[in-house]
Protein backbone atom coordinates (compact mmCIF):
# COMPACT_ATOMS: atom_id res chain seq x y z
CA UNK A 1 0.00 0.00 0.00
CA UNK A 2 2.99 2.31 0.49
CA UNK A 3 4.70 1.46 -2.80
CA UNK A 4 2.87 4.05 -4.89
CA UNK A 5 3.51 6.76 -2.32
CA UNK A 6 7.18 5.81 -2.02
CA UNK A 7 7.54 5.94 -5.79
CA UNK A 8 5.86 9.32 -6.28
CA UNK A 9 8.69 11.85 -6.59
CA UNK A 10 6.51 14.91 -6.06
CA UNK A 11 4.81 13.52 -2.94
CA UNK A 12 8.20 12.43 -1.61
CA UNK A 13 9.61 15.95 -1.88
CA UNK A 14 6.59 17.27 0.03
CA UNK A 15 6.98 14.54 2.65
CA UNK A 16 10.70 15.26 2.92
CA UNK A 17 9.90 18.90 3.65
CA UNK A 18 7.26 17.96 6.23
CA UNK A 19 9.57 15.46 7.96
CA UNK A 20 12.33 18.08 7.91
CA UNK A 21 10.12 20.70 9.58
CA UNK A 22 9.30 18.25 12.39
CA UNK A 23 12.96 17.15 12.65
CA UNK A 24 14.16 20.77 12.76
CA UNK A 25 11.52 21.69 15.35
CA UNK A 26 12.57 18.82 17.64
CA UNK A 27 16.29 19.47 17.16
CA UNK A 28 15.82 23.14 18.05
CA UNK A 29 13.62 22.42 21.07
CA UNK A 30 16.19 19.91 22.36
CA UNK A 31 18.95 22.54 22.27
CA UNK A 32 21.31 20.75 19.86
CA UNK A 33 21.05 23.47 17.19
CA UNK A 34 22.96 25.75 19.60
CA UNK A 35 26.77 25.94 19.35
CA UNK A 36 27.16 25.97 23.14
CA UNK A 37 25.28 22.69 23.61
CA UNK A 38 27.35 20.86 20.97
CA UNK A 39 30.73 22.22 22.03
CA UNK A 40 29.97 21.46 25.68
CA UNK A 41 29.07 17.89 24.68
CA UNK A 42 32.48 17.58 23.01
CA UNK A 43 34.10 19.13 26.10
CA UNK A 44 32.11 16.56 28.15
CA UNK A 45 30.31 19.08 30.37
CA UNK A 46 26.80 18.73 28.85
CA UNK A 47 25.39 15.43 27.57
CA UNK A 48 22.29 16.75 25.78
CA UNK A 49 23.51 15.59 22.35
CA UNK A 50 24.07 12.01 23.53
CA UNK A 51 20.71 11.96 25.35
CA UNK A 52 18.86 13.10 22.21
CA UNK A 53 20.65 10.61 19.95
CA UNK A 54 20.30 7.62 22.26
CA UNK A 55 16.60 8.37 23.00
CA UNK A 56 15.99 8.42 19.25
CA UNK A 57 17.79 5.09 18.93
CA UNK A 58 15.68 3.46 21.69
CA UNK A 59 12.35 4.50 20.20
CA UNK A 60 13.47 4.15 16.59
CA UNK A 61 14.99 0.69 16.85
CA UNK A 62 11.88 -0.86 18.46
CA UNK A 63 9.50 0.52 15.82
CA UNK A 64 11.69 -0.15 12.82
CA UNK A 65 12.49 -3.73 13.76
CA UNK A 66 8.86 -4.41 14.65
CA UNK A 67 7.76 -3.10 11.25
CA UNK A 68 10.62 -4.91 9.51
CA UNK A 69 9.49 -8.14 11.15
CA UNK A 70 6.02 -7.58 9.66
CA UNK A 71 7.51 -6.85 6.22
CA UNK A 72 6.33 -3.23 6.33
CA UNK A 73 9.71 -1.49 5.94
CA UNK A 74 13.09 -2.11 4.33
CA UNK A 75 16.33 -1.68 6.24
CA UNK A 76 19.10 0.47 4.79
CA UNK A 77 22.19 -0.85 6.55
CA UNK A 78 25.50 0.55 5.27
CA UNK A 79 28.60 -1.58 5.27
CA UNK A 80 31.89 -0.07 6.39
CA UNK A 81 35.64 -0.47 6.50
CA UNK A 82 38.65 0.79 8.38
CA UNK A 83 39.62 3.05 5.46
CA UNK A 84 36.17 4.54 5.12
CA UNK A 85 34.35 4.45 8.46
CA UNK A 86 37.18 5.01 10.92
CA UNK A 87 39.32 7.44 8.93
CA UNK A 88 36.28 9.37 7.66
CA UNK A 89 34.67 9.33 11.10
CA UNK A 90 37.74 10.90 12.71
CA UNK A 91 37.95 13.59 9.98
CA UNK A 92 34.26 14.26 10.60
CA UNK A 93 34.96 14.61 14.33
CA UNK A 94 37.59 17.29 13.72
CA UNK A 95 35.08 19.24 11.63
CA UNK A 96 32.36 18.65 14.24
CA UNK A 97 34.49 20.39 16.90
CA UNK A 98 35.72 23.25 14.67
CA UNK A 99 32.26 24.08 13.34
CA UNK A 100 30.34 23.22 16.51
CA UNK A 101 27.41 21.90 14.50
CA UNK A 102 26.91 18.77 12.39
CA UNK A 103 25.34 18.68 8.89
CA UNK A 104 21.78 18.45 10.28
CA UNK A 105 22.09 20.81 13.23
CA UNK A 106 23.89 23.41 11.09
CA UNK A 107 20.63 23.75 9.13
CA UNK A 108 18.75 24.17 12.42
CA UNK A 109 21.28 26.75 13.60
CA UNK A 110 20.69 28.73 10.39
CA UNK A 111 16.95 28.63 11.15
CA UNK A 112 17.47 30.28 14.52
CA UNK A 113 19.73 33.00 13.10
CA UNK A 114 23.29 31.71 13.56
CA UNK A 115 25.26 33.48 10.85
CA UNK A 116 28.45 31.54 11.65
CA UNK A 117 26.48 28.42 10.70
CA UNK A 118 25.32 29.96 7.42
CA UNK A 119 28.34 31.92 6.20
CA UNK A 120 30.97 29.60 7.71
CA UNK A 121 29.30 26.22 8.06
CA UNK A 122 27.06 25.86 5.02
CA UNK A 123 29.66 27.32 2.65
CA UNK A 124 32.38 25.12 4.16
CA UNK A 125 30.18 22.02 3.89
CA UNK A 126 29.41 22.79 0.25
CA UNK A 127 33.04 23.43 -0.66
CA UNK A 128 34.21 20.40 1.32
CA UNK A 129 31.70 18.19 -0.50
CA UNK A 130 32.99 19.48 -3.81
CA UNK A 131 36.62 18.84 -2.84
CA UNK A 132 35.62 15.28 -1.93
CA UNK A 133 33.74 14.85 -5.22
CA UNK A 134 36.79 15.98 -7.20
CA UNK A 135 39.15 13.76 -5.18
CA UNK A 136 36.81 10.75 -5.17
CA UNK A 137 38.43 8.77 -8.04
CA UNK A 138 41.78 8.92 -6.22
CA UNK A 139 40.30 8.13 -2.79
CA UNK A 140 38.04 5.28 -3.89
CA UNK A 141 40.64 2.46 -3.72
CA UNK A 142 41.54 3.45 -0.13
CA UNK A 143 37.91 3.36 1.05
CA UNK A 144 37.66 -0.43 0.73
CA UNK A 145 40.74 -1.11 2.88
CA UNK A 146 39.98 -3.33 5.88
CA UNK A 147 36.31 -4.04 5.21
CA UNK A 148 34.29 -4.92 8.30
CA UNK A 149 33.28 -8.57 8.31
CA UNK A 150 29.86 -7.98 9.82
CA UNK A 151 27.10 -5.64 8.69
CA UNK A 152 24.76 -5.85 11.69
CA UNK A 153 25.28 -6.22 15.42
CA UNK A 154 23.27 -9.46 15.23
CA UNK A 155 25.95 -11.01 12.98
CA UNK A 156 28.76 -9.68 15.15
CA UNK A 157 27.34 -11.14 18.37
CA UNK A 158 25.63 -14.17 16.76
CA UNK A 159 22.33 -13.18 18.36
CA UNK A 160 18.77 -12.62 17.17
CA UNK A 161 17.46 -9.11 16.56
CA UNK A 162 15.53 -8.76 19.81
CA UNK A 163 18.33 -10.42 21.77
CA UNK A 164 20.45 -7.45 20.68
CA UNK A 165 17.78 -4.77 21.07
CA UNK A 166 16.70 -5.61 24.64
CA UNK A 167 20.20 -5.48 26.20
CA UNK A 168 21.01 -2.41 24.10
CA UNK A 169 18.00 -0.56 25.50
CA UNK A 170 18.90 -1.66 29.04
CA UNK A 171 22.43 -0.30 28.50
CA UNK A 172 21.17 3.00 27.11
CA UNK A 173 18.73 3.45 30.02
CA UNK A 174 21.55 2.64 32.45
CA UNK A 175 23.61 5.32 30.70
CA UNK A 176 20.76 7.83 31.16
CA UNK A 177 20.40 6.94 34.84
CA UNK A 178 24.16 7.31 35.28
CA UNK A 179 24.25 10.70 33.55
CA UNK A 180 21.34 12.04 35.63
CA UNK A 181 22.90 10.64 38.80
CA UNK A 182 26.14 12.48 37.97
CA UNK A 183 24.12 15.63 37.22
CA UNK A 184 25.38 15.78 33.62
Amino acid sequence: MYESLRGNARSQKALGLLFGIIFGFLLQKSGVTTYKVIINQLLLTDFTVLKVMMSAVVVGTVGIHFMHGKGMVNLHVRSGSFGSTIVGGLIFGVGFALLGYCPGTVAGAVGQGAMDALVGGVLGLTLGSWIYAVSYPKLAPFLDKGEFKHERLQDLFHLGTWAVIVPLIVLIIALFVGLEWLGL
Binding site: L17, G93, F96, G124
Partner: protein, 173 residues
Protein backbone atom coordinates in the same frame (compact mmCIF):
# COMPACT_ATOMS: atom_id res chain seq x y z
CA UNK B 1 0.02 27.00 23.93
CA UNK B 2 2.58 27.49 26.64
CA UNK B 3 4.78 24.46 25.97
CA UNK B 4 5.32 25.57 22.37
CA UNK B 5 6.88 28.75 23.75
CA UNK B 6 9.26 26.87 26.05
CA UNK B 7 12.88 27.51 25.20
CA UNK B 8 13.92 23.91 25.73
CA UNK B 9 12.21 20.57 26.00
CA UNK B 10 13.62 17.49 27.69
CA UNK B 11 16.30 15.94 25.46
CA UNK B 12 14.68 12.56 26.13
CA UNK B 13 11.30 13.76 24.81
CA UNK B 14 12.87 15.36 21.73
CA UNK B 15 15.00 12.29 21.06
CA UNK B 16 11.99 9.99 21.43
CA UNK B 17 10.12 12.27 19.01
CA UNK B 18 12.95 11.94 16.47
CA UNK B 19 12.85 8.16 16.92
CA UNK B 20 9.11 8.21 16.29
CA UNK B 21 9.62 10.43 13.24
CA UNK B 22 12.04 7.87 11.83
CA UNK B 23 9.29 5.21 11.89
CA UNK B 24 7.37 7.36 9.44
CA UNK B 25 10.35 8.15 7.19
CA UNK B 26 10.96 4.40 6.83
CA UNK B 27 7.28 3.60 6.36
CA UNK B 28 6.16 6.41 4.04
CA UNK B 29 9.41 7.31 2.26
CA UNK B 30 11.53 4.14 2.59
CA UNK B 31 14.35 6.38 3.79
CA UNK B 32 16.36 6.82 6.97
CA UNK B 33 16.88 10.33 8.34
CA UNK B 34 20.12 11.76 6.94
CA UNK B 35 21.38 15.17 5.87
CA UNK B 36 24.98 15.38 4.67
CA UNK B 37 24.54 14.13 1.08
CA UNK B 38 22.42 17.22 0.38
CA UNK B 39 25.48 19.45 0.69
CA UNK B 40 27.22 17.31 -1.95
CA UNK B 41 24.18 17.60 -4.24
CA UNK B 42 24.23 21.37 -3.69
CA UNK B 43 27.93 21.50 -4.62
CA UNK B 44 27.11 19.55 -7.79
CA UNK B 45 24.19 21.85 -8.63
CA UNK B 46 26.47 24.89 -8.31
CA UNK B 47 29.09 23.27 -10.52
CA UNK B 48 26.34 22.42 -13.02
CA UNK B 49 25.32 26.10 -13.08
CA UNK B 50 28.90 27.10 -13.82
CA UNK B 51 30.02 24.27 -16.14
CA UNK B 52 26.80 22.71 -17.37
CA UNK B 53 26.42 18.94 -17.76
CA UNK B 54 30.18 18.39 -17.73
CA UNK B 55 29.65 18.01 -13.97
CA UNK B 56 28.31 14.53 -14.77
CA UNK B 57 31.75 13.55 -16.09
CA UNK B 58 32.76 13.29 -12.48
CA UNK B 59 32.37 9.75 -11.15
CA UNK B 60 31.06 11.08 -7.83
CA UNK B 61 28.22 13.08 -9.37
CA UNK B 62 27.13 10.06 -11.42
CA UNK B 63 26.61 8.31 -8.09
CA UNK B 64 25.22 11.34 -6.20
CA UNK B 65 23.17 13.17 -8.81
CA UNK B 66 23.23 16.97 -8.49
CA UNK B 67 19.49 17.45 -8.06
CA UNK B 68 16.90 18.22 -5.40
CA UNK B 69 15.59 15.05 -3.75
CA UNK B 70 13.75 13.92 -0.59
CA UNK B 71 16.74 14.55 1.65
CA UNK B 72 17.45 18.00 0.22
CA UNK B 73 13.88 18.98 1.06
CA UNK B 74 14.36 17.47 4.53
CA UNK B 75 17.36 19.76 5.15
CA UNK B 76 15.37 22.76 3.93
CA UNK B 77 12.61 21.66 6.30
CA UNK B 78 15.06 21.58 9.23
CA UNK B 79 15.80 25.28 8.66
CA UNK B 80 12.07 26.06 8.64
CA UNK B 81 11.25 23.84 11.64
CA UNK B 82 14.03 25.36 13.71
CA UNK B 83 12.91 28.84 12.69
CA UNK B 84 9.35 28.06 13.84
CA UNK B 85 10.51 26.54 17.13
CA UNK B 86 12.96 29.33 17.97
CA UNK B 87 10.47 32.04 16.95
CA UNK B 88 7.80 30.56 19.22
CA UNK B 89 10.20 30.67 22.17
CA UNK B 90 11.63 34.06 21.19
CA UNK B 91 15.25 32.89 20.88
CA UNK B 92 15.47 33.35 17.10
CA UNK B 93 17.99 36.13 16.59
CA UNK B 94 20.67 37.03 14.05
CA UNK B 95 24.03 36.50 15.70
CA UNK B 96 27.59 35.87 14.48
CA UNK B 97 29.68 34.74 17.43
CA UNK B 98 28.11 32.23 19.85
CA UNK B 99 29.01 31.44 23.44
CA UNK B 100 31.33 30.01 24.73
CA UNK B 101 33.50 31.02 21.73
CA UNK B 102 32.74 34.67 22.57
CA UNK B 103 34.10 34.44 26.15
CA UNK B 104 37.14 32.39 25.17
CA UNK B 105 38.21 33.78 21.77
CA UNK B 106 36.54 37.21 21.75
CA UNK B 107 33.83 38.87 19.70
CA UNK B 108 35.69 39.25 16.37
CA UNK B 109 33.54 37.77 13.59
CA UNK B 110 36.26 36.76 11.13
CA UNK B 111 38.10 34.17 13.26
CA UNK B 112 34.83 32.45 14.17
CA UNK B 113 33.60 32.38 10.58
CA UNK B 114 36.94 31.12 9.25
CA UNK B 115 37.12 28.29 11.80
CA UNK B 116 33.46 27.45 11.11
CA UNK B 117 34.24 27.38 7.37
CA UNK B 118 37.21 25.09 7.89
CA UNK B 119 35.10 22.93 10.21
CA UNK B 120 32.34 22.71 7.61
CA UNK B 121 34.84 21.56 4.99
CA UNK B 122 36.27 18.84 7.28
CA UNK B 123 32.75 17.80 8.25
CA UNK B 124 31.66 17.36 4.63
CA UNK B 125 34.82 15.52 3.60
CA UNK B 126 34.54 13.26 6.67
CA UNK B 127 30.84 12.59 6.11
CA UNK B 128 31.35 11.53 2.49
CA UNK B 129 34.48 9.57 3.41
CA UNK B 130 32.62 7.66 6.15
CA UNK B 131 29.40 7.50 4.10
CA UNK B 132 27.22 9.31 6.65
CA UNK B 133 26.90 11.92 9.37
CA UNK B 134 25.50 12.28 12.87
CA UNK B 135 22.01 11.69 11.44
CA UNK B 136 22.68 9.02 8.79
CA UNK B 137 25.09 6.97 10.91
CA UNK B 138 24.66 8.41 14.41
CA UNK B 139 20.87 8.11 14.62
CA UNK B 140 19.54 6.16 11.63
CA UNK B 141 22.35 3.63 11.26
CA UNK B 142 22.70 2.89 14.96
CA UNK B 143 18.95 2.28 15.32
CA UNK B 144 19.21 -0.23 12.46
CA UNK B 145 21.94 -1.95 14.51
CA UNK B 146 24.53 -1.37 11.78
CA UNK B 147 28.08 -2.20 12.92
CA UNK B 148 29.62 0.47 10.64
CA UNK B 149 27.28 3.13 12.02
CA UNK B 150 28.10 2.40 15.66
CA UNK B 151 31.81 2.53 14.82
CA UNK B 152 31.33 5.74 12.80
CA UNK B 153 29.39 7.40 15.65
CA UNK B 154 32.14 6.50 18.14
CA UNK B 155 34.78 7.94 15.76
CA UNK B 156 32.74 11.17 15.33
CA UNK B 157 32.87 11.68 19.10
CA UNK B 158 36.49 10.54 19.54
CA UNK B 159 37.64 13.00 16.85
CA UNK B 160 35.28 15.70 18.12
CA UNK B 161 36.25 15.40 21.78
CA UNK B 162 39.97 15.46 20.88
CA UNK B 163 39.66 18.50 18.60
CA UNK B 164 37.35 20.45 20.95
CA UNK B 165 39.70 19.81 23.88
CA UNK B 166 42.71 21.03 21.87
CA UNK B 167 40.80 24.07 20.53
CA UNK B 168 39.62 25.22 23.94
CA UNK B 169 43.05 24.56 25.50
CA UNK B 170 44.76 26.98 23.07
CA UNK B 171 43.93 30.21 24.96
CA UNK B 172 45.26 28.76 28.22
CA UNK B 173 48.68 27.92 26.75
Amino acid sequence: MNWLAMEQWSPYVCGAGIGLLSWFTFLLSDKPLGTSTSFARTAGMIERLLRGNRVLDREFFQKVTPSIDWQWMLVLGIVIGSFISSSLSGVAQIHWVPEPWLSVFGSAVLPRVLVAFLGGAFLAIGARWADGCTSGHGISGTMQLAVASWIAAICFFVGGIAMATILYAIPTL
